[in-house]
Each structure stands twice: as C-alpha cells, then as structure tokens.
C-alpha cells in the first residue's frame, strides 16, 4: 500500500467541506449556550457562516485543473467549485425566506439551522465525490438531515407521516444504491469512479447490468422520477413549507451531480443501456407529473407534481447521453431550483401564523391584496410554463436541442406536448391571482422588507436570465466539457 502524506497544500481544495464541519460544530455550541432568550442569534450566524463559506470557497476552492484528493475519494474541479457556490447561494435564500415562517410556528430552533448546514455538507460531498464510498456517505448525510427536518414540526401529525414515508422510501432507495454499487464493485474490483470508467466496456456483462439497474432505480428514487416518485407529493405537502422549500431546491444540485458522476462518468461505458432506461423513466415522469398536477387543489402538492415533471426534463437531458445533454440538464437544474426557490418563497411570505397559504383558493385575488407578490408569482409561473422571455423557456429549449441532435425525435414530441399540458396549471395560478375574486377574507401577506427584496431579486433573476441567457449557458457548457 502506498503511504500517503497529507499536507496543507494537498487538502486546500477541500476547504469548503472542512470549514463547513467546523461551522456546524461551532454553531451547535453557540446555539446550546445562547438559550431560549436569544433565538434570533443562530439564524443570523448561519447566514454569516454561509457568506464566509462562500468567500473561502472563492479563495481556496478554485483549482486550475481537475485535482484528486484523499486517495481518490475526492475530486476538485470547476464543476464542483461552481455547484458549491450555487449551493451556498440557494441555501442562503431559502433560509432568508423561511425565518419568519419558522418563528410563527414555534419551530425556530437552532437544530433546524444545524441540520440545514449538515445537509449542505452532504450536498458538497456528493458534488465532489470521486468514489462510490463518498457518493454513498454524501447521499446518507443529505438524506438523514432532510428526514429530520421533515419531522421537525413535532406536533403536526401530517408532518410526522410525511417524514416517516420519506424515511422508509428513502431507505429503500439507499438500499438499491448500495446493492447496485456492490454489484459494480464485484465486477470491477474498485470503488474509484474513474477507474470504474476505465474498466467497463460495451456490452456490459450480466453482473454490471444488474448493478446498473439498481443504481438507475436509486437515482430515480432520489430525483423523484416516476414510478419511484410516491414519496414526493406526500412529503412536499406534509412537511413544513420551509422544509419543502429546502427539499425542492439545493438537494437537486446534489442529485444532478450524483447522476452525472455516477452514471455519466463512472458508468459511462454503459451509456447505451442506461440512457434507454432513463428515456423510459423520463416519458413516464413527464406524463404522470403533468397530468396529475392538473387535478391538484393544494398548491404545495401541485408544485410537487410540477417538480416531478421538471425532474422528467432533467432526466431527458441525461437520456441524450452527450455532453450537450448534460449541459442542458445542468442548466435546467439550476433554473428549476431558482424558480422553485421563488415559488415556495411566495407560499412562505403569503402564510401567516395559523394560516397556511397552501390552497389554490388562497391565491384568488392575490393581485388586489399584494400586487408585487402576485407579480413575482406570475413571473415564476410563466418561467416554469416555459413562456419566453422568461428563463424557463431557454432551459426547455436546450433540452429539446440536445435530444434533437441525438435523434430522439419522439422524446422531443412527447416532452413538448407535455409542457403544453403543464402550461395549463401554471397559467391557472396566474388566472386565480389576477382575475378571480377571493371566496373569503384572507390575511394580507407578510411585510418584511428584506425578505420581499430577496424575493424580488429572485423573480427578477428569472427575467434577466431569460433576456440574457448567454453567460449562464456558456458557464454550464464550460463546466461539463
């Protein structure tokens, strides 16, 4: 066995993770000693910690070329660097939106913030994983934190139920992942993803195929692709909205990275097999997600099905099996997170103490009560529906282009048809807000200037990125190629 020497220079690219572990421990201690009286301390400190983390990442996390650390366990490249920065950004916005919501429901406890940070650590580990061992630990770190967050409102029966479902189905997904990994390990004799890539060739033997099937199932479970989506609507509806916002945003970066590193890179030698599997999953996901979303009356549940249909598009990007397809999937993932962040943010801002604005009826006549909030929601909904000039249009277009170039004409037709179906329920929200009269008197949305400004930036980003999609698209293309 080669002796490895670990020096400061050899681990500097891992500063984001190292820093985050330190910040978690420190925050845990500060929160324990702050006591009940200074509840506002931990949320503020968490935001500061995220800002410092982002600054440290910019200073140390950038590497000139791909670097492998910790004996092949960890990879530092530009993709990981940029995704980590996006992770900091999305989590910070999510926490900003959810602070008042948590306080009003009496679940503003320091542990919530610590769990958000541990989930972020799990995301980072996955984004930088170069070995099946670290992939698995990253998945578990992220999943365990999120299960606990879903159950965080202990007095809510529906939250407990959704957390339990999430936990059990998530465990099945992790089990499938482990089983698939052990098959691949048995066939190749290594955990290192780059070595696996070198040892797998077309056509794969039976053992590799079985392992591949299990890994695809696990990836579908984690992303929420049909028919492994059962947990998603229940969790989105049942969990506290701030947790739903978290589940729907930053972890998607991690699962994109999981799919890219594990399937596209590690198992790249079997691309013909898994792209067929993903194609079938994507079609099912698009059809079920869009059609079932139409009949939902609960906005959180509707957005859950909308998530499923968006996941269908991300999976379609991988189905293309080319760097262009992965670029489109990355772009779509980032745009989807941006829009989901805003949409759930609107629900959080519209909710008051004892009033959960999660029913579609609650949005009737929103324009009269709060024109700016309605405007932000309208921009976000137009974007997910794929209406130009909003950015969602470009995201969908890139996916279609990648599929067209790889001669998946049928997939383009089905997915385009399904986005037309999807446009119905997004536009319905806008219709409710602008043209319908409210059936009852609803409390006015919350007026916290900072949070509203953050939401405004979020909604404007959807428009600005839509008018000038070039820089982000080029960035995505550079990261993948």
């Amino acid at each position: 066995m080669p002796e490895t020497t670990m020096t400061w220079q050899s681990i500097t690219p891992a500063i984001p993770e190292i820093y985050l572990v330190g910040a978690i421990c420190l925050l845990l201690l500060v929160d324990a000693f702050a006591g009940q009286t200074r509840r506002g301390l931990t949320p503020t400190l968490t935001l500061i910690a995220l800002a410092v983390g982002a600054a440290l990442t910019v200073m140390y996390g950038k590497v000139p070329q791909q670097t492998i650390l910790f004996d092949g366990m960890y990879v530092a490249d530009e993709l990981a660097y940029v995704l980590k920065l996006f992770g900091f950004l999305f989590v910070a916005f999510g926490l900003l939106y959810s602070r008042d919501y948590l306080e009003e429901r009496g679940i503003l406890r320091g542990e919530y913030y610590v769990l958000v940070l541990t989930a972020l650590l799990g995301i980072f580990v996955l984004v930088s994983a170069n070995s099946m061992l670290t992939v698995y630990i990253g998945v578990e770190l992220l999943a365990l934190s999120v299960y606990a967050m879903a159950a965080f409102d202990r007095d809510s029966g529906i939250a407990a139920e959704s957390a339990m479902k999430y936990f059990v189905l998530g465990a099945i997904g992790s089990g499938a992942l482990l089983y698939g990994m052990s098959m691949i390990y048995g066939m190749t004799g290594t955990l290192d993803l780059q070595e696996i890539a070198g040892r797998l060739h077309e056509p794969p033997n039976l053992g590799v195929t079985i392992g591949l099937v299990f890994i695809v199932v696990a990836v579908a479970f984690k992303l929420g692709a049909v028919p492994f989506h059962m947990w998603l609507p229940d969790v989105y509806q049942g969990a506290p909205t701030s947790v739903t916002l978290f589940i729907g945003t930053a972890p998607k970066i991690a699962y994109f990275a999981l799919t890219l590193r594990l399937l596209a890179h590690g198992l790249g030698g079997t691309v013909v097999e898994w792209s067929q599997m993903l194609g079938a999953l994507a079609v099912l996901t698009l059809v079920v997600g869009n059609v079932v979303a139409i009949v939902q009356t609960n906005l959180k549940r509707m957005l859950a099905y909308s998530t499923i249909s968006n996941v269908g598009f991300i999976v379609l990007g991988f189905t293309a099996g080319t760097p262009d397809g992965y670029t489109a999937a990355l772009y779509y993932t980032l745009i989807y997170i941006l829009v989901a962040l805003g949409s759930f943010g609107v629900i959080l801002i519209a909710s008051r103490k004892g009033f959960e604005a999660d029913h579609l009826d609650h949005y009737k006549g929103m324009y009269k009560r709060d024109p700016l909030l309605a405007l932000a929601m309208m921009m976000l909904m137009f974007s997910t529906a794929g209406v130009p000039p909003f950015v969602g249009f470009w995201a969908k277009l890139r996916i279609f282009q990648a599929l067209w170039e790889t001669n998946h004409v049928w997939l383009v037709i089905i997915s385009a048809g399904m986005s037309v179906v999807g446009a119905f329920y997004y536009l319905r929200v806008i219709k409710l807000m602008y043209f319908d009269a409210p059936p009852a008197e609803y409390p006015p949305p919350q007026h916290s200037a900072g949070v509203r400004a953050a939401l405004g930036i979020n909604a404007l980003a959807v428009l600005v990125l839509g008018v000038a999609p070039g820089p982000l698209l080029d960035l995505c293309a550079r990261l993948i190629h």
Partner: protein, 199 residues
C-alpha cells in the same frame, strides 16, 4: 491446538445460540447472547482478527447488550401476547431456516468440488498488528470518508435529540439548594386556637 480451541468455542457458541431462542426468560436469553458474542470474539481471535474481536466485545457486549438488558428489564413485556402468533408464522421461520441451510450447504459443496471461491488468509508474522494496520489506512487512505462518517453520527444524534427532547411545563424536579435552605417556619404553620366547648 487451534483446531481443538475452535471446536470448544464452536460448541459453546452453538449451545449458547440454541439457549437464546429456547429460553423462556428473556433475561436469560440476553445473557446467553452475551455468551455467544464473547465466544464468537474468541473464534475471531483464532483467525487473527483481533481488532474485530475487541470491538465486538466492547461495542456489542459492553454497549448494545447492556442497553438490551435495560430495555428487557424496564419494559413490562407481555410474553403471552408475543407468543400468540408463533405457530401461525412458524412456516415462515422454517422456510427461512431452510434457505439458510441450503446456502451453507452450497458454500461447503462449492469448496468440496474444488472451486476456490475465497483463498484462506495467509498467517501473518507474530509482530503484525491488525489494529495498527487498520488505524493506518483509516487515518490516511480513508481519512475523508472516516471523518464524514463521524459527521453522519453527529447528525443522527442531533436529529434524535431535537425530535424527542421536549421541555414539559410543570415537570416535578428536585432543587437541592432550595431543599437545604428550607426552614421549619416555611413548612409548618402553628395555629393557636382555643379549644372548642363541648356542645
């Protein structure tokens, strides 16, 4: 010598395991399980896996089984209720046992035919330390996943505590300081009153 020891420990292990499932008293079962763990640790020592043997005793006997005994003794388990479904689900147990037996026979049979599925480990030098070698890879090659596994355990602790610990108002607690500082006049009130006349 090693073989004799193996058979001695093996016999104790099998008898202990039988005792675990046949004993009617759950405390006896738990204690017999401790015996099983210790004898398996001894067998692992024979194949030079001393670190695993020590960990088995420390973790399973020292922590898990003690907790188990606590639970068995603290909870008022109604054994009759537990045993009611025994005959109904017995076939499932037999089926599982049969599957395990078939698997064991299969493994032994494959060896007998001459297919060497796993090579027997070569004995190491007397000064070779299993623990040292494990520590060496754990803190070098696997340092990163090892540390992350520690964070994973931390997450489990935070999650478990934040989901179960609640401050109950009106909980009765002892405050030693107040108990010591208490004086007779705080507790006893002497009331002077005239004796009532007999009516």
């Amino acid at each position: 010598m090693v073989e004799i020891l193996f058979y001695i420990f093996g016999t104790i292990l099998v008898l202990g395991a039988l005792g675990v499932i046949t004993s009617r008293n759950p405390v006896y079962s738990a204690l017999l399980l401790v015996l099983c763990f210790i004898t398996s640790a001894a067998i692992w020592l024979l194949i030079e896996a001393e670190f695993l043997a020590v960990v088995l005793v420390l973790v399973y006997v020292g922590a898990v089984m003690v907790l188990f005994l606590f639970v068995v003794m603290m909870l008022d388990v109604n054994l009759e209720e537990l045993r009611t479904g025994f005959t109904r689900y017995a076939w499932l147990g037999w089926l599982t046992a049969l599957a395990v037996i078939v698997e064991i026979v299969g493994v032994v049979w494959v060896r007998g035919v001459g297919i060497d599925v796993s090579k027997s480990p070569t004995p190491t030098a007397p000064d070779y330390s299993n623990t040292l070698e494990l520590g060496r890879v754990m803190y070098t090659k696997y340092a990163y996943p090892f540390e992350l596994a520690a964070v994973l355990l931390l997450v489990a602790i935070i999650a478990a505590i934040s989901l179960t610990m609640r401050r109950r108002p009106g909980l009765k607690v002892q405050d030693i300081g107040k108990q010591v500082a208490v004086r007779a006049k705080d507790r006893v009130r002497i009331v002077k009153m005239n004796s009532e006349k007999r009516s």
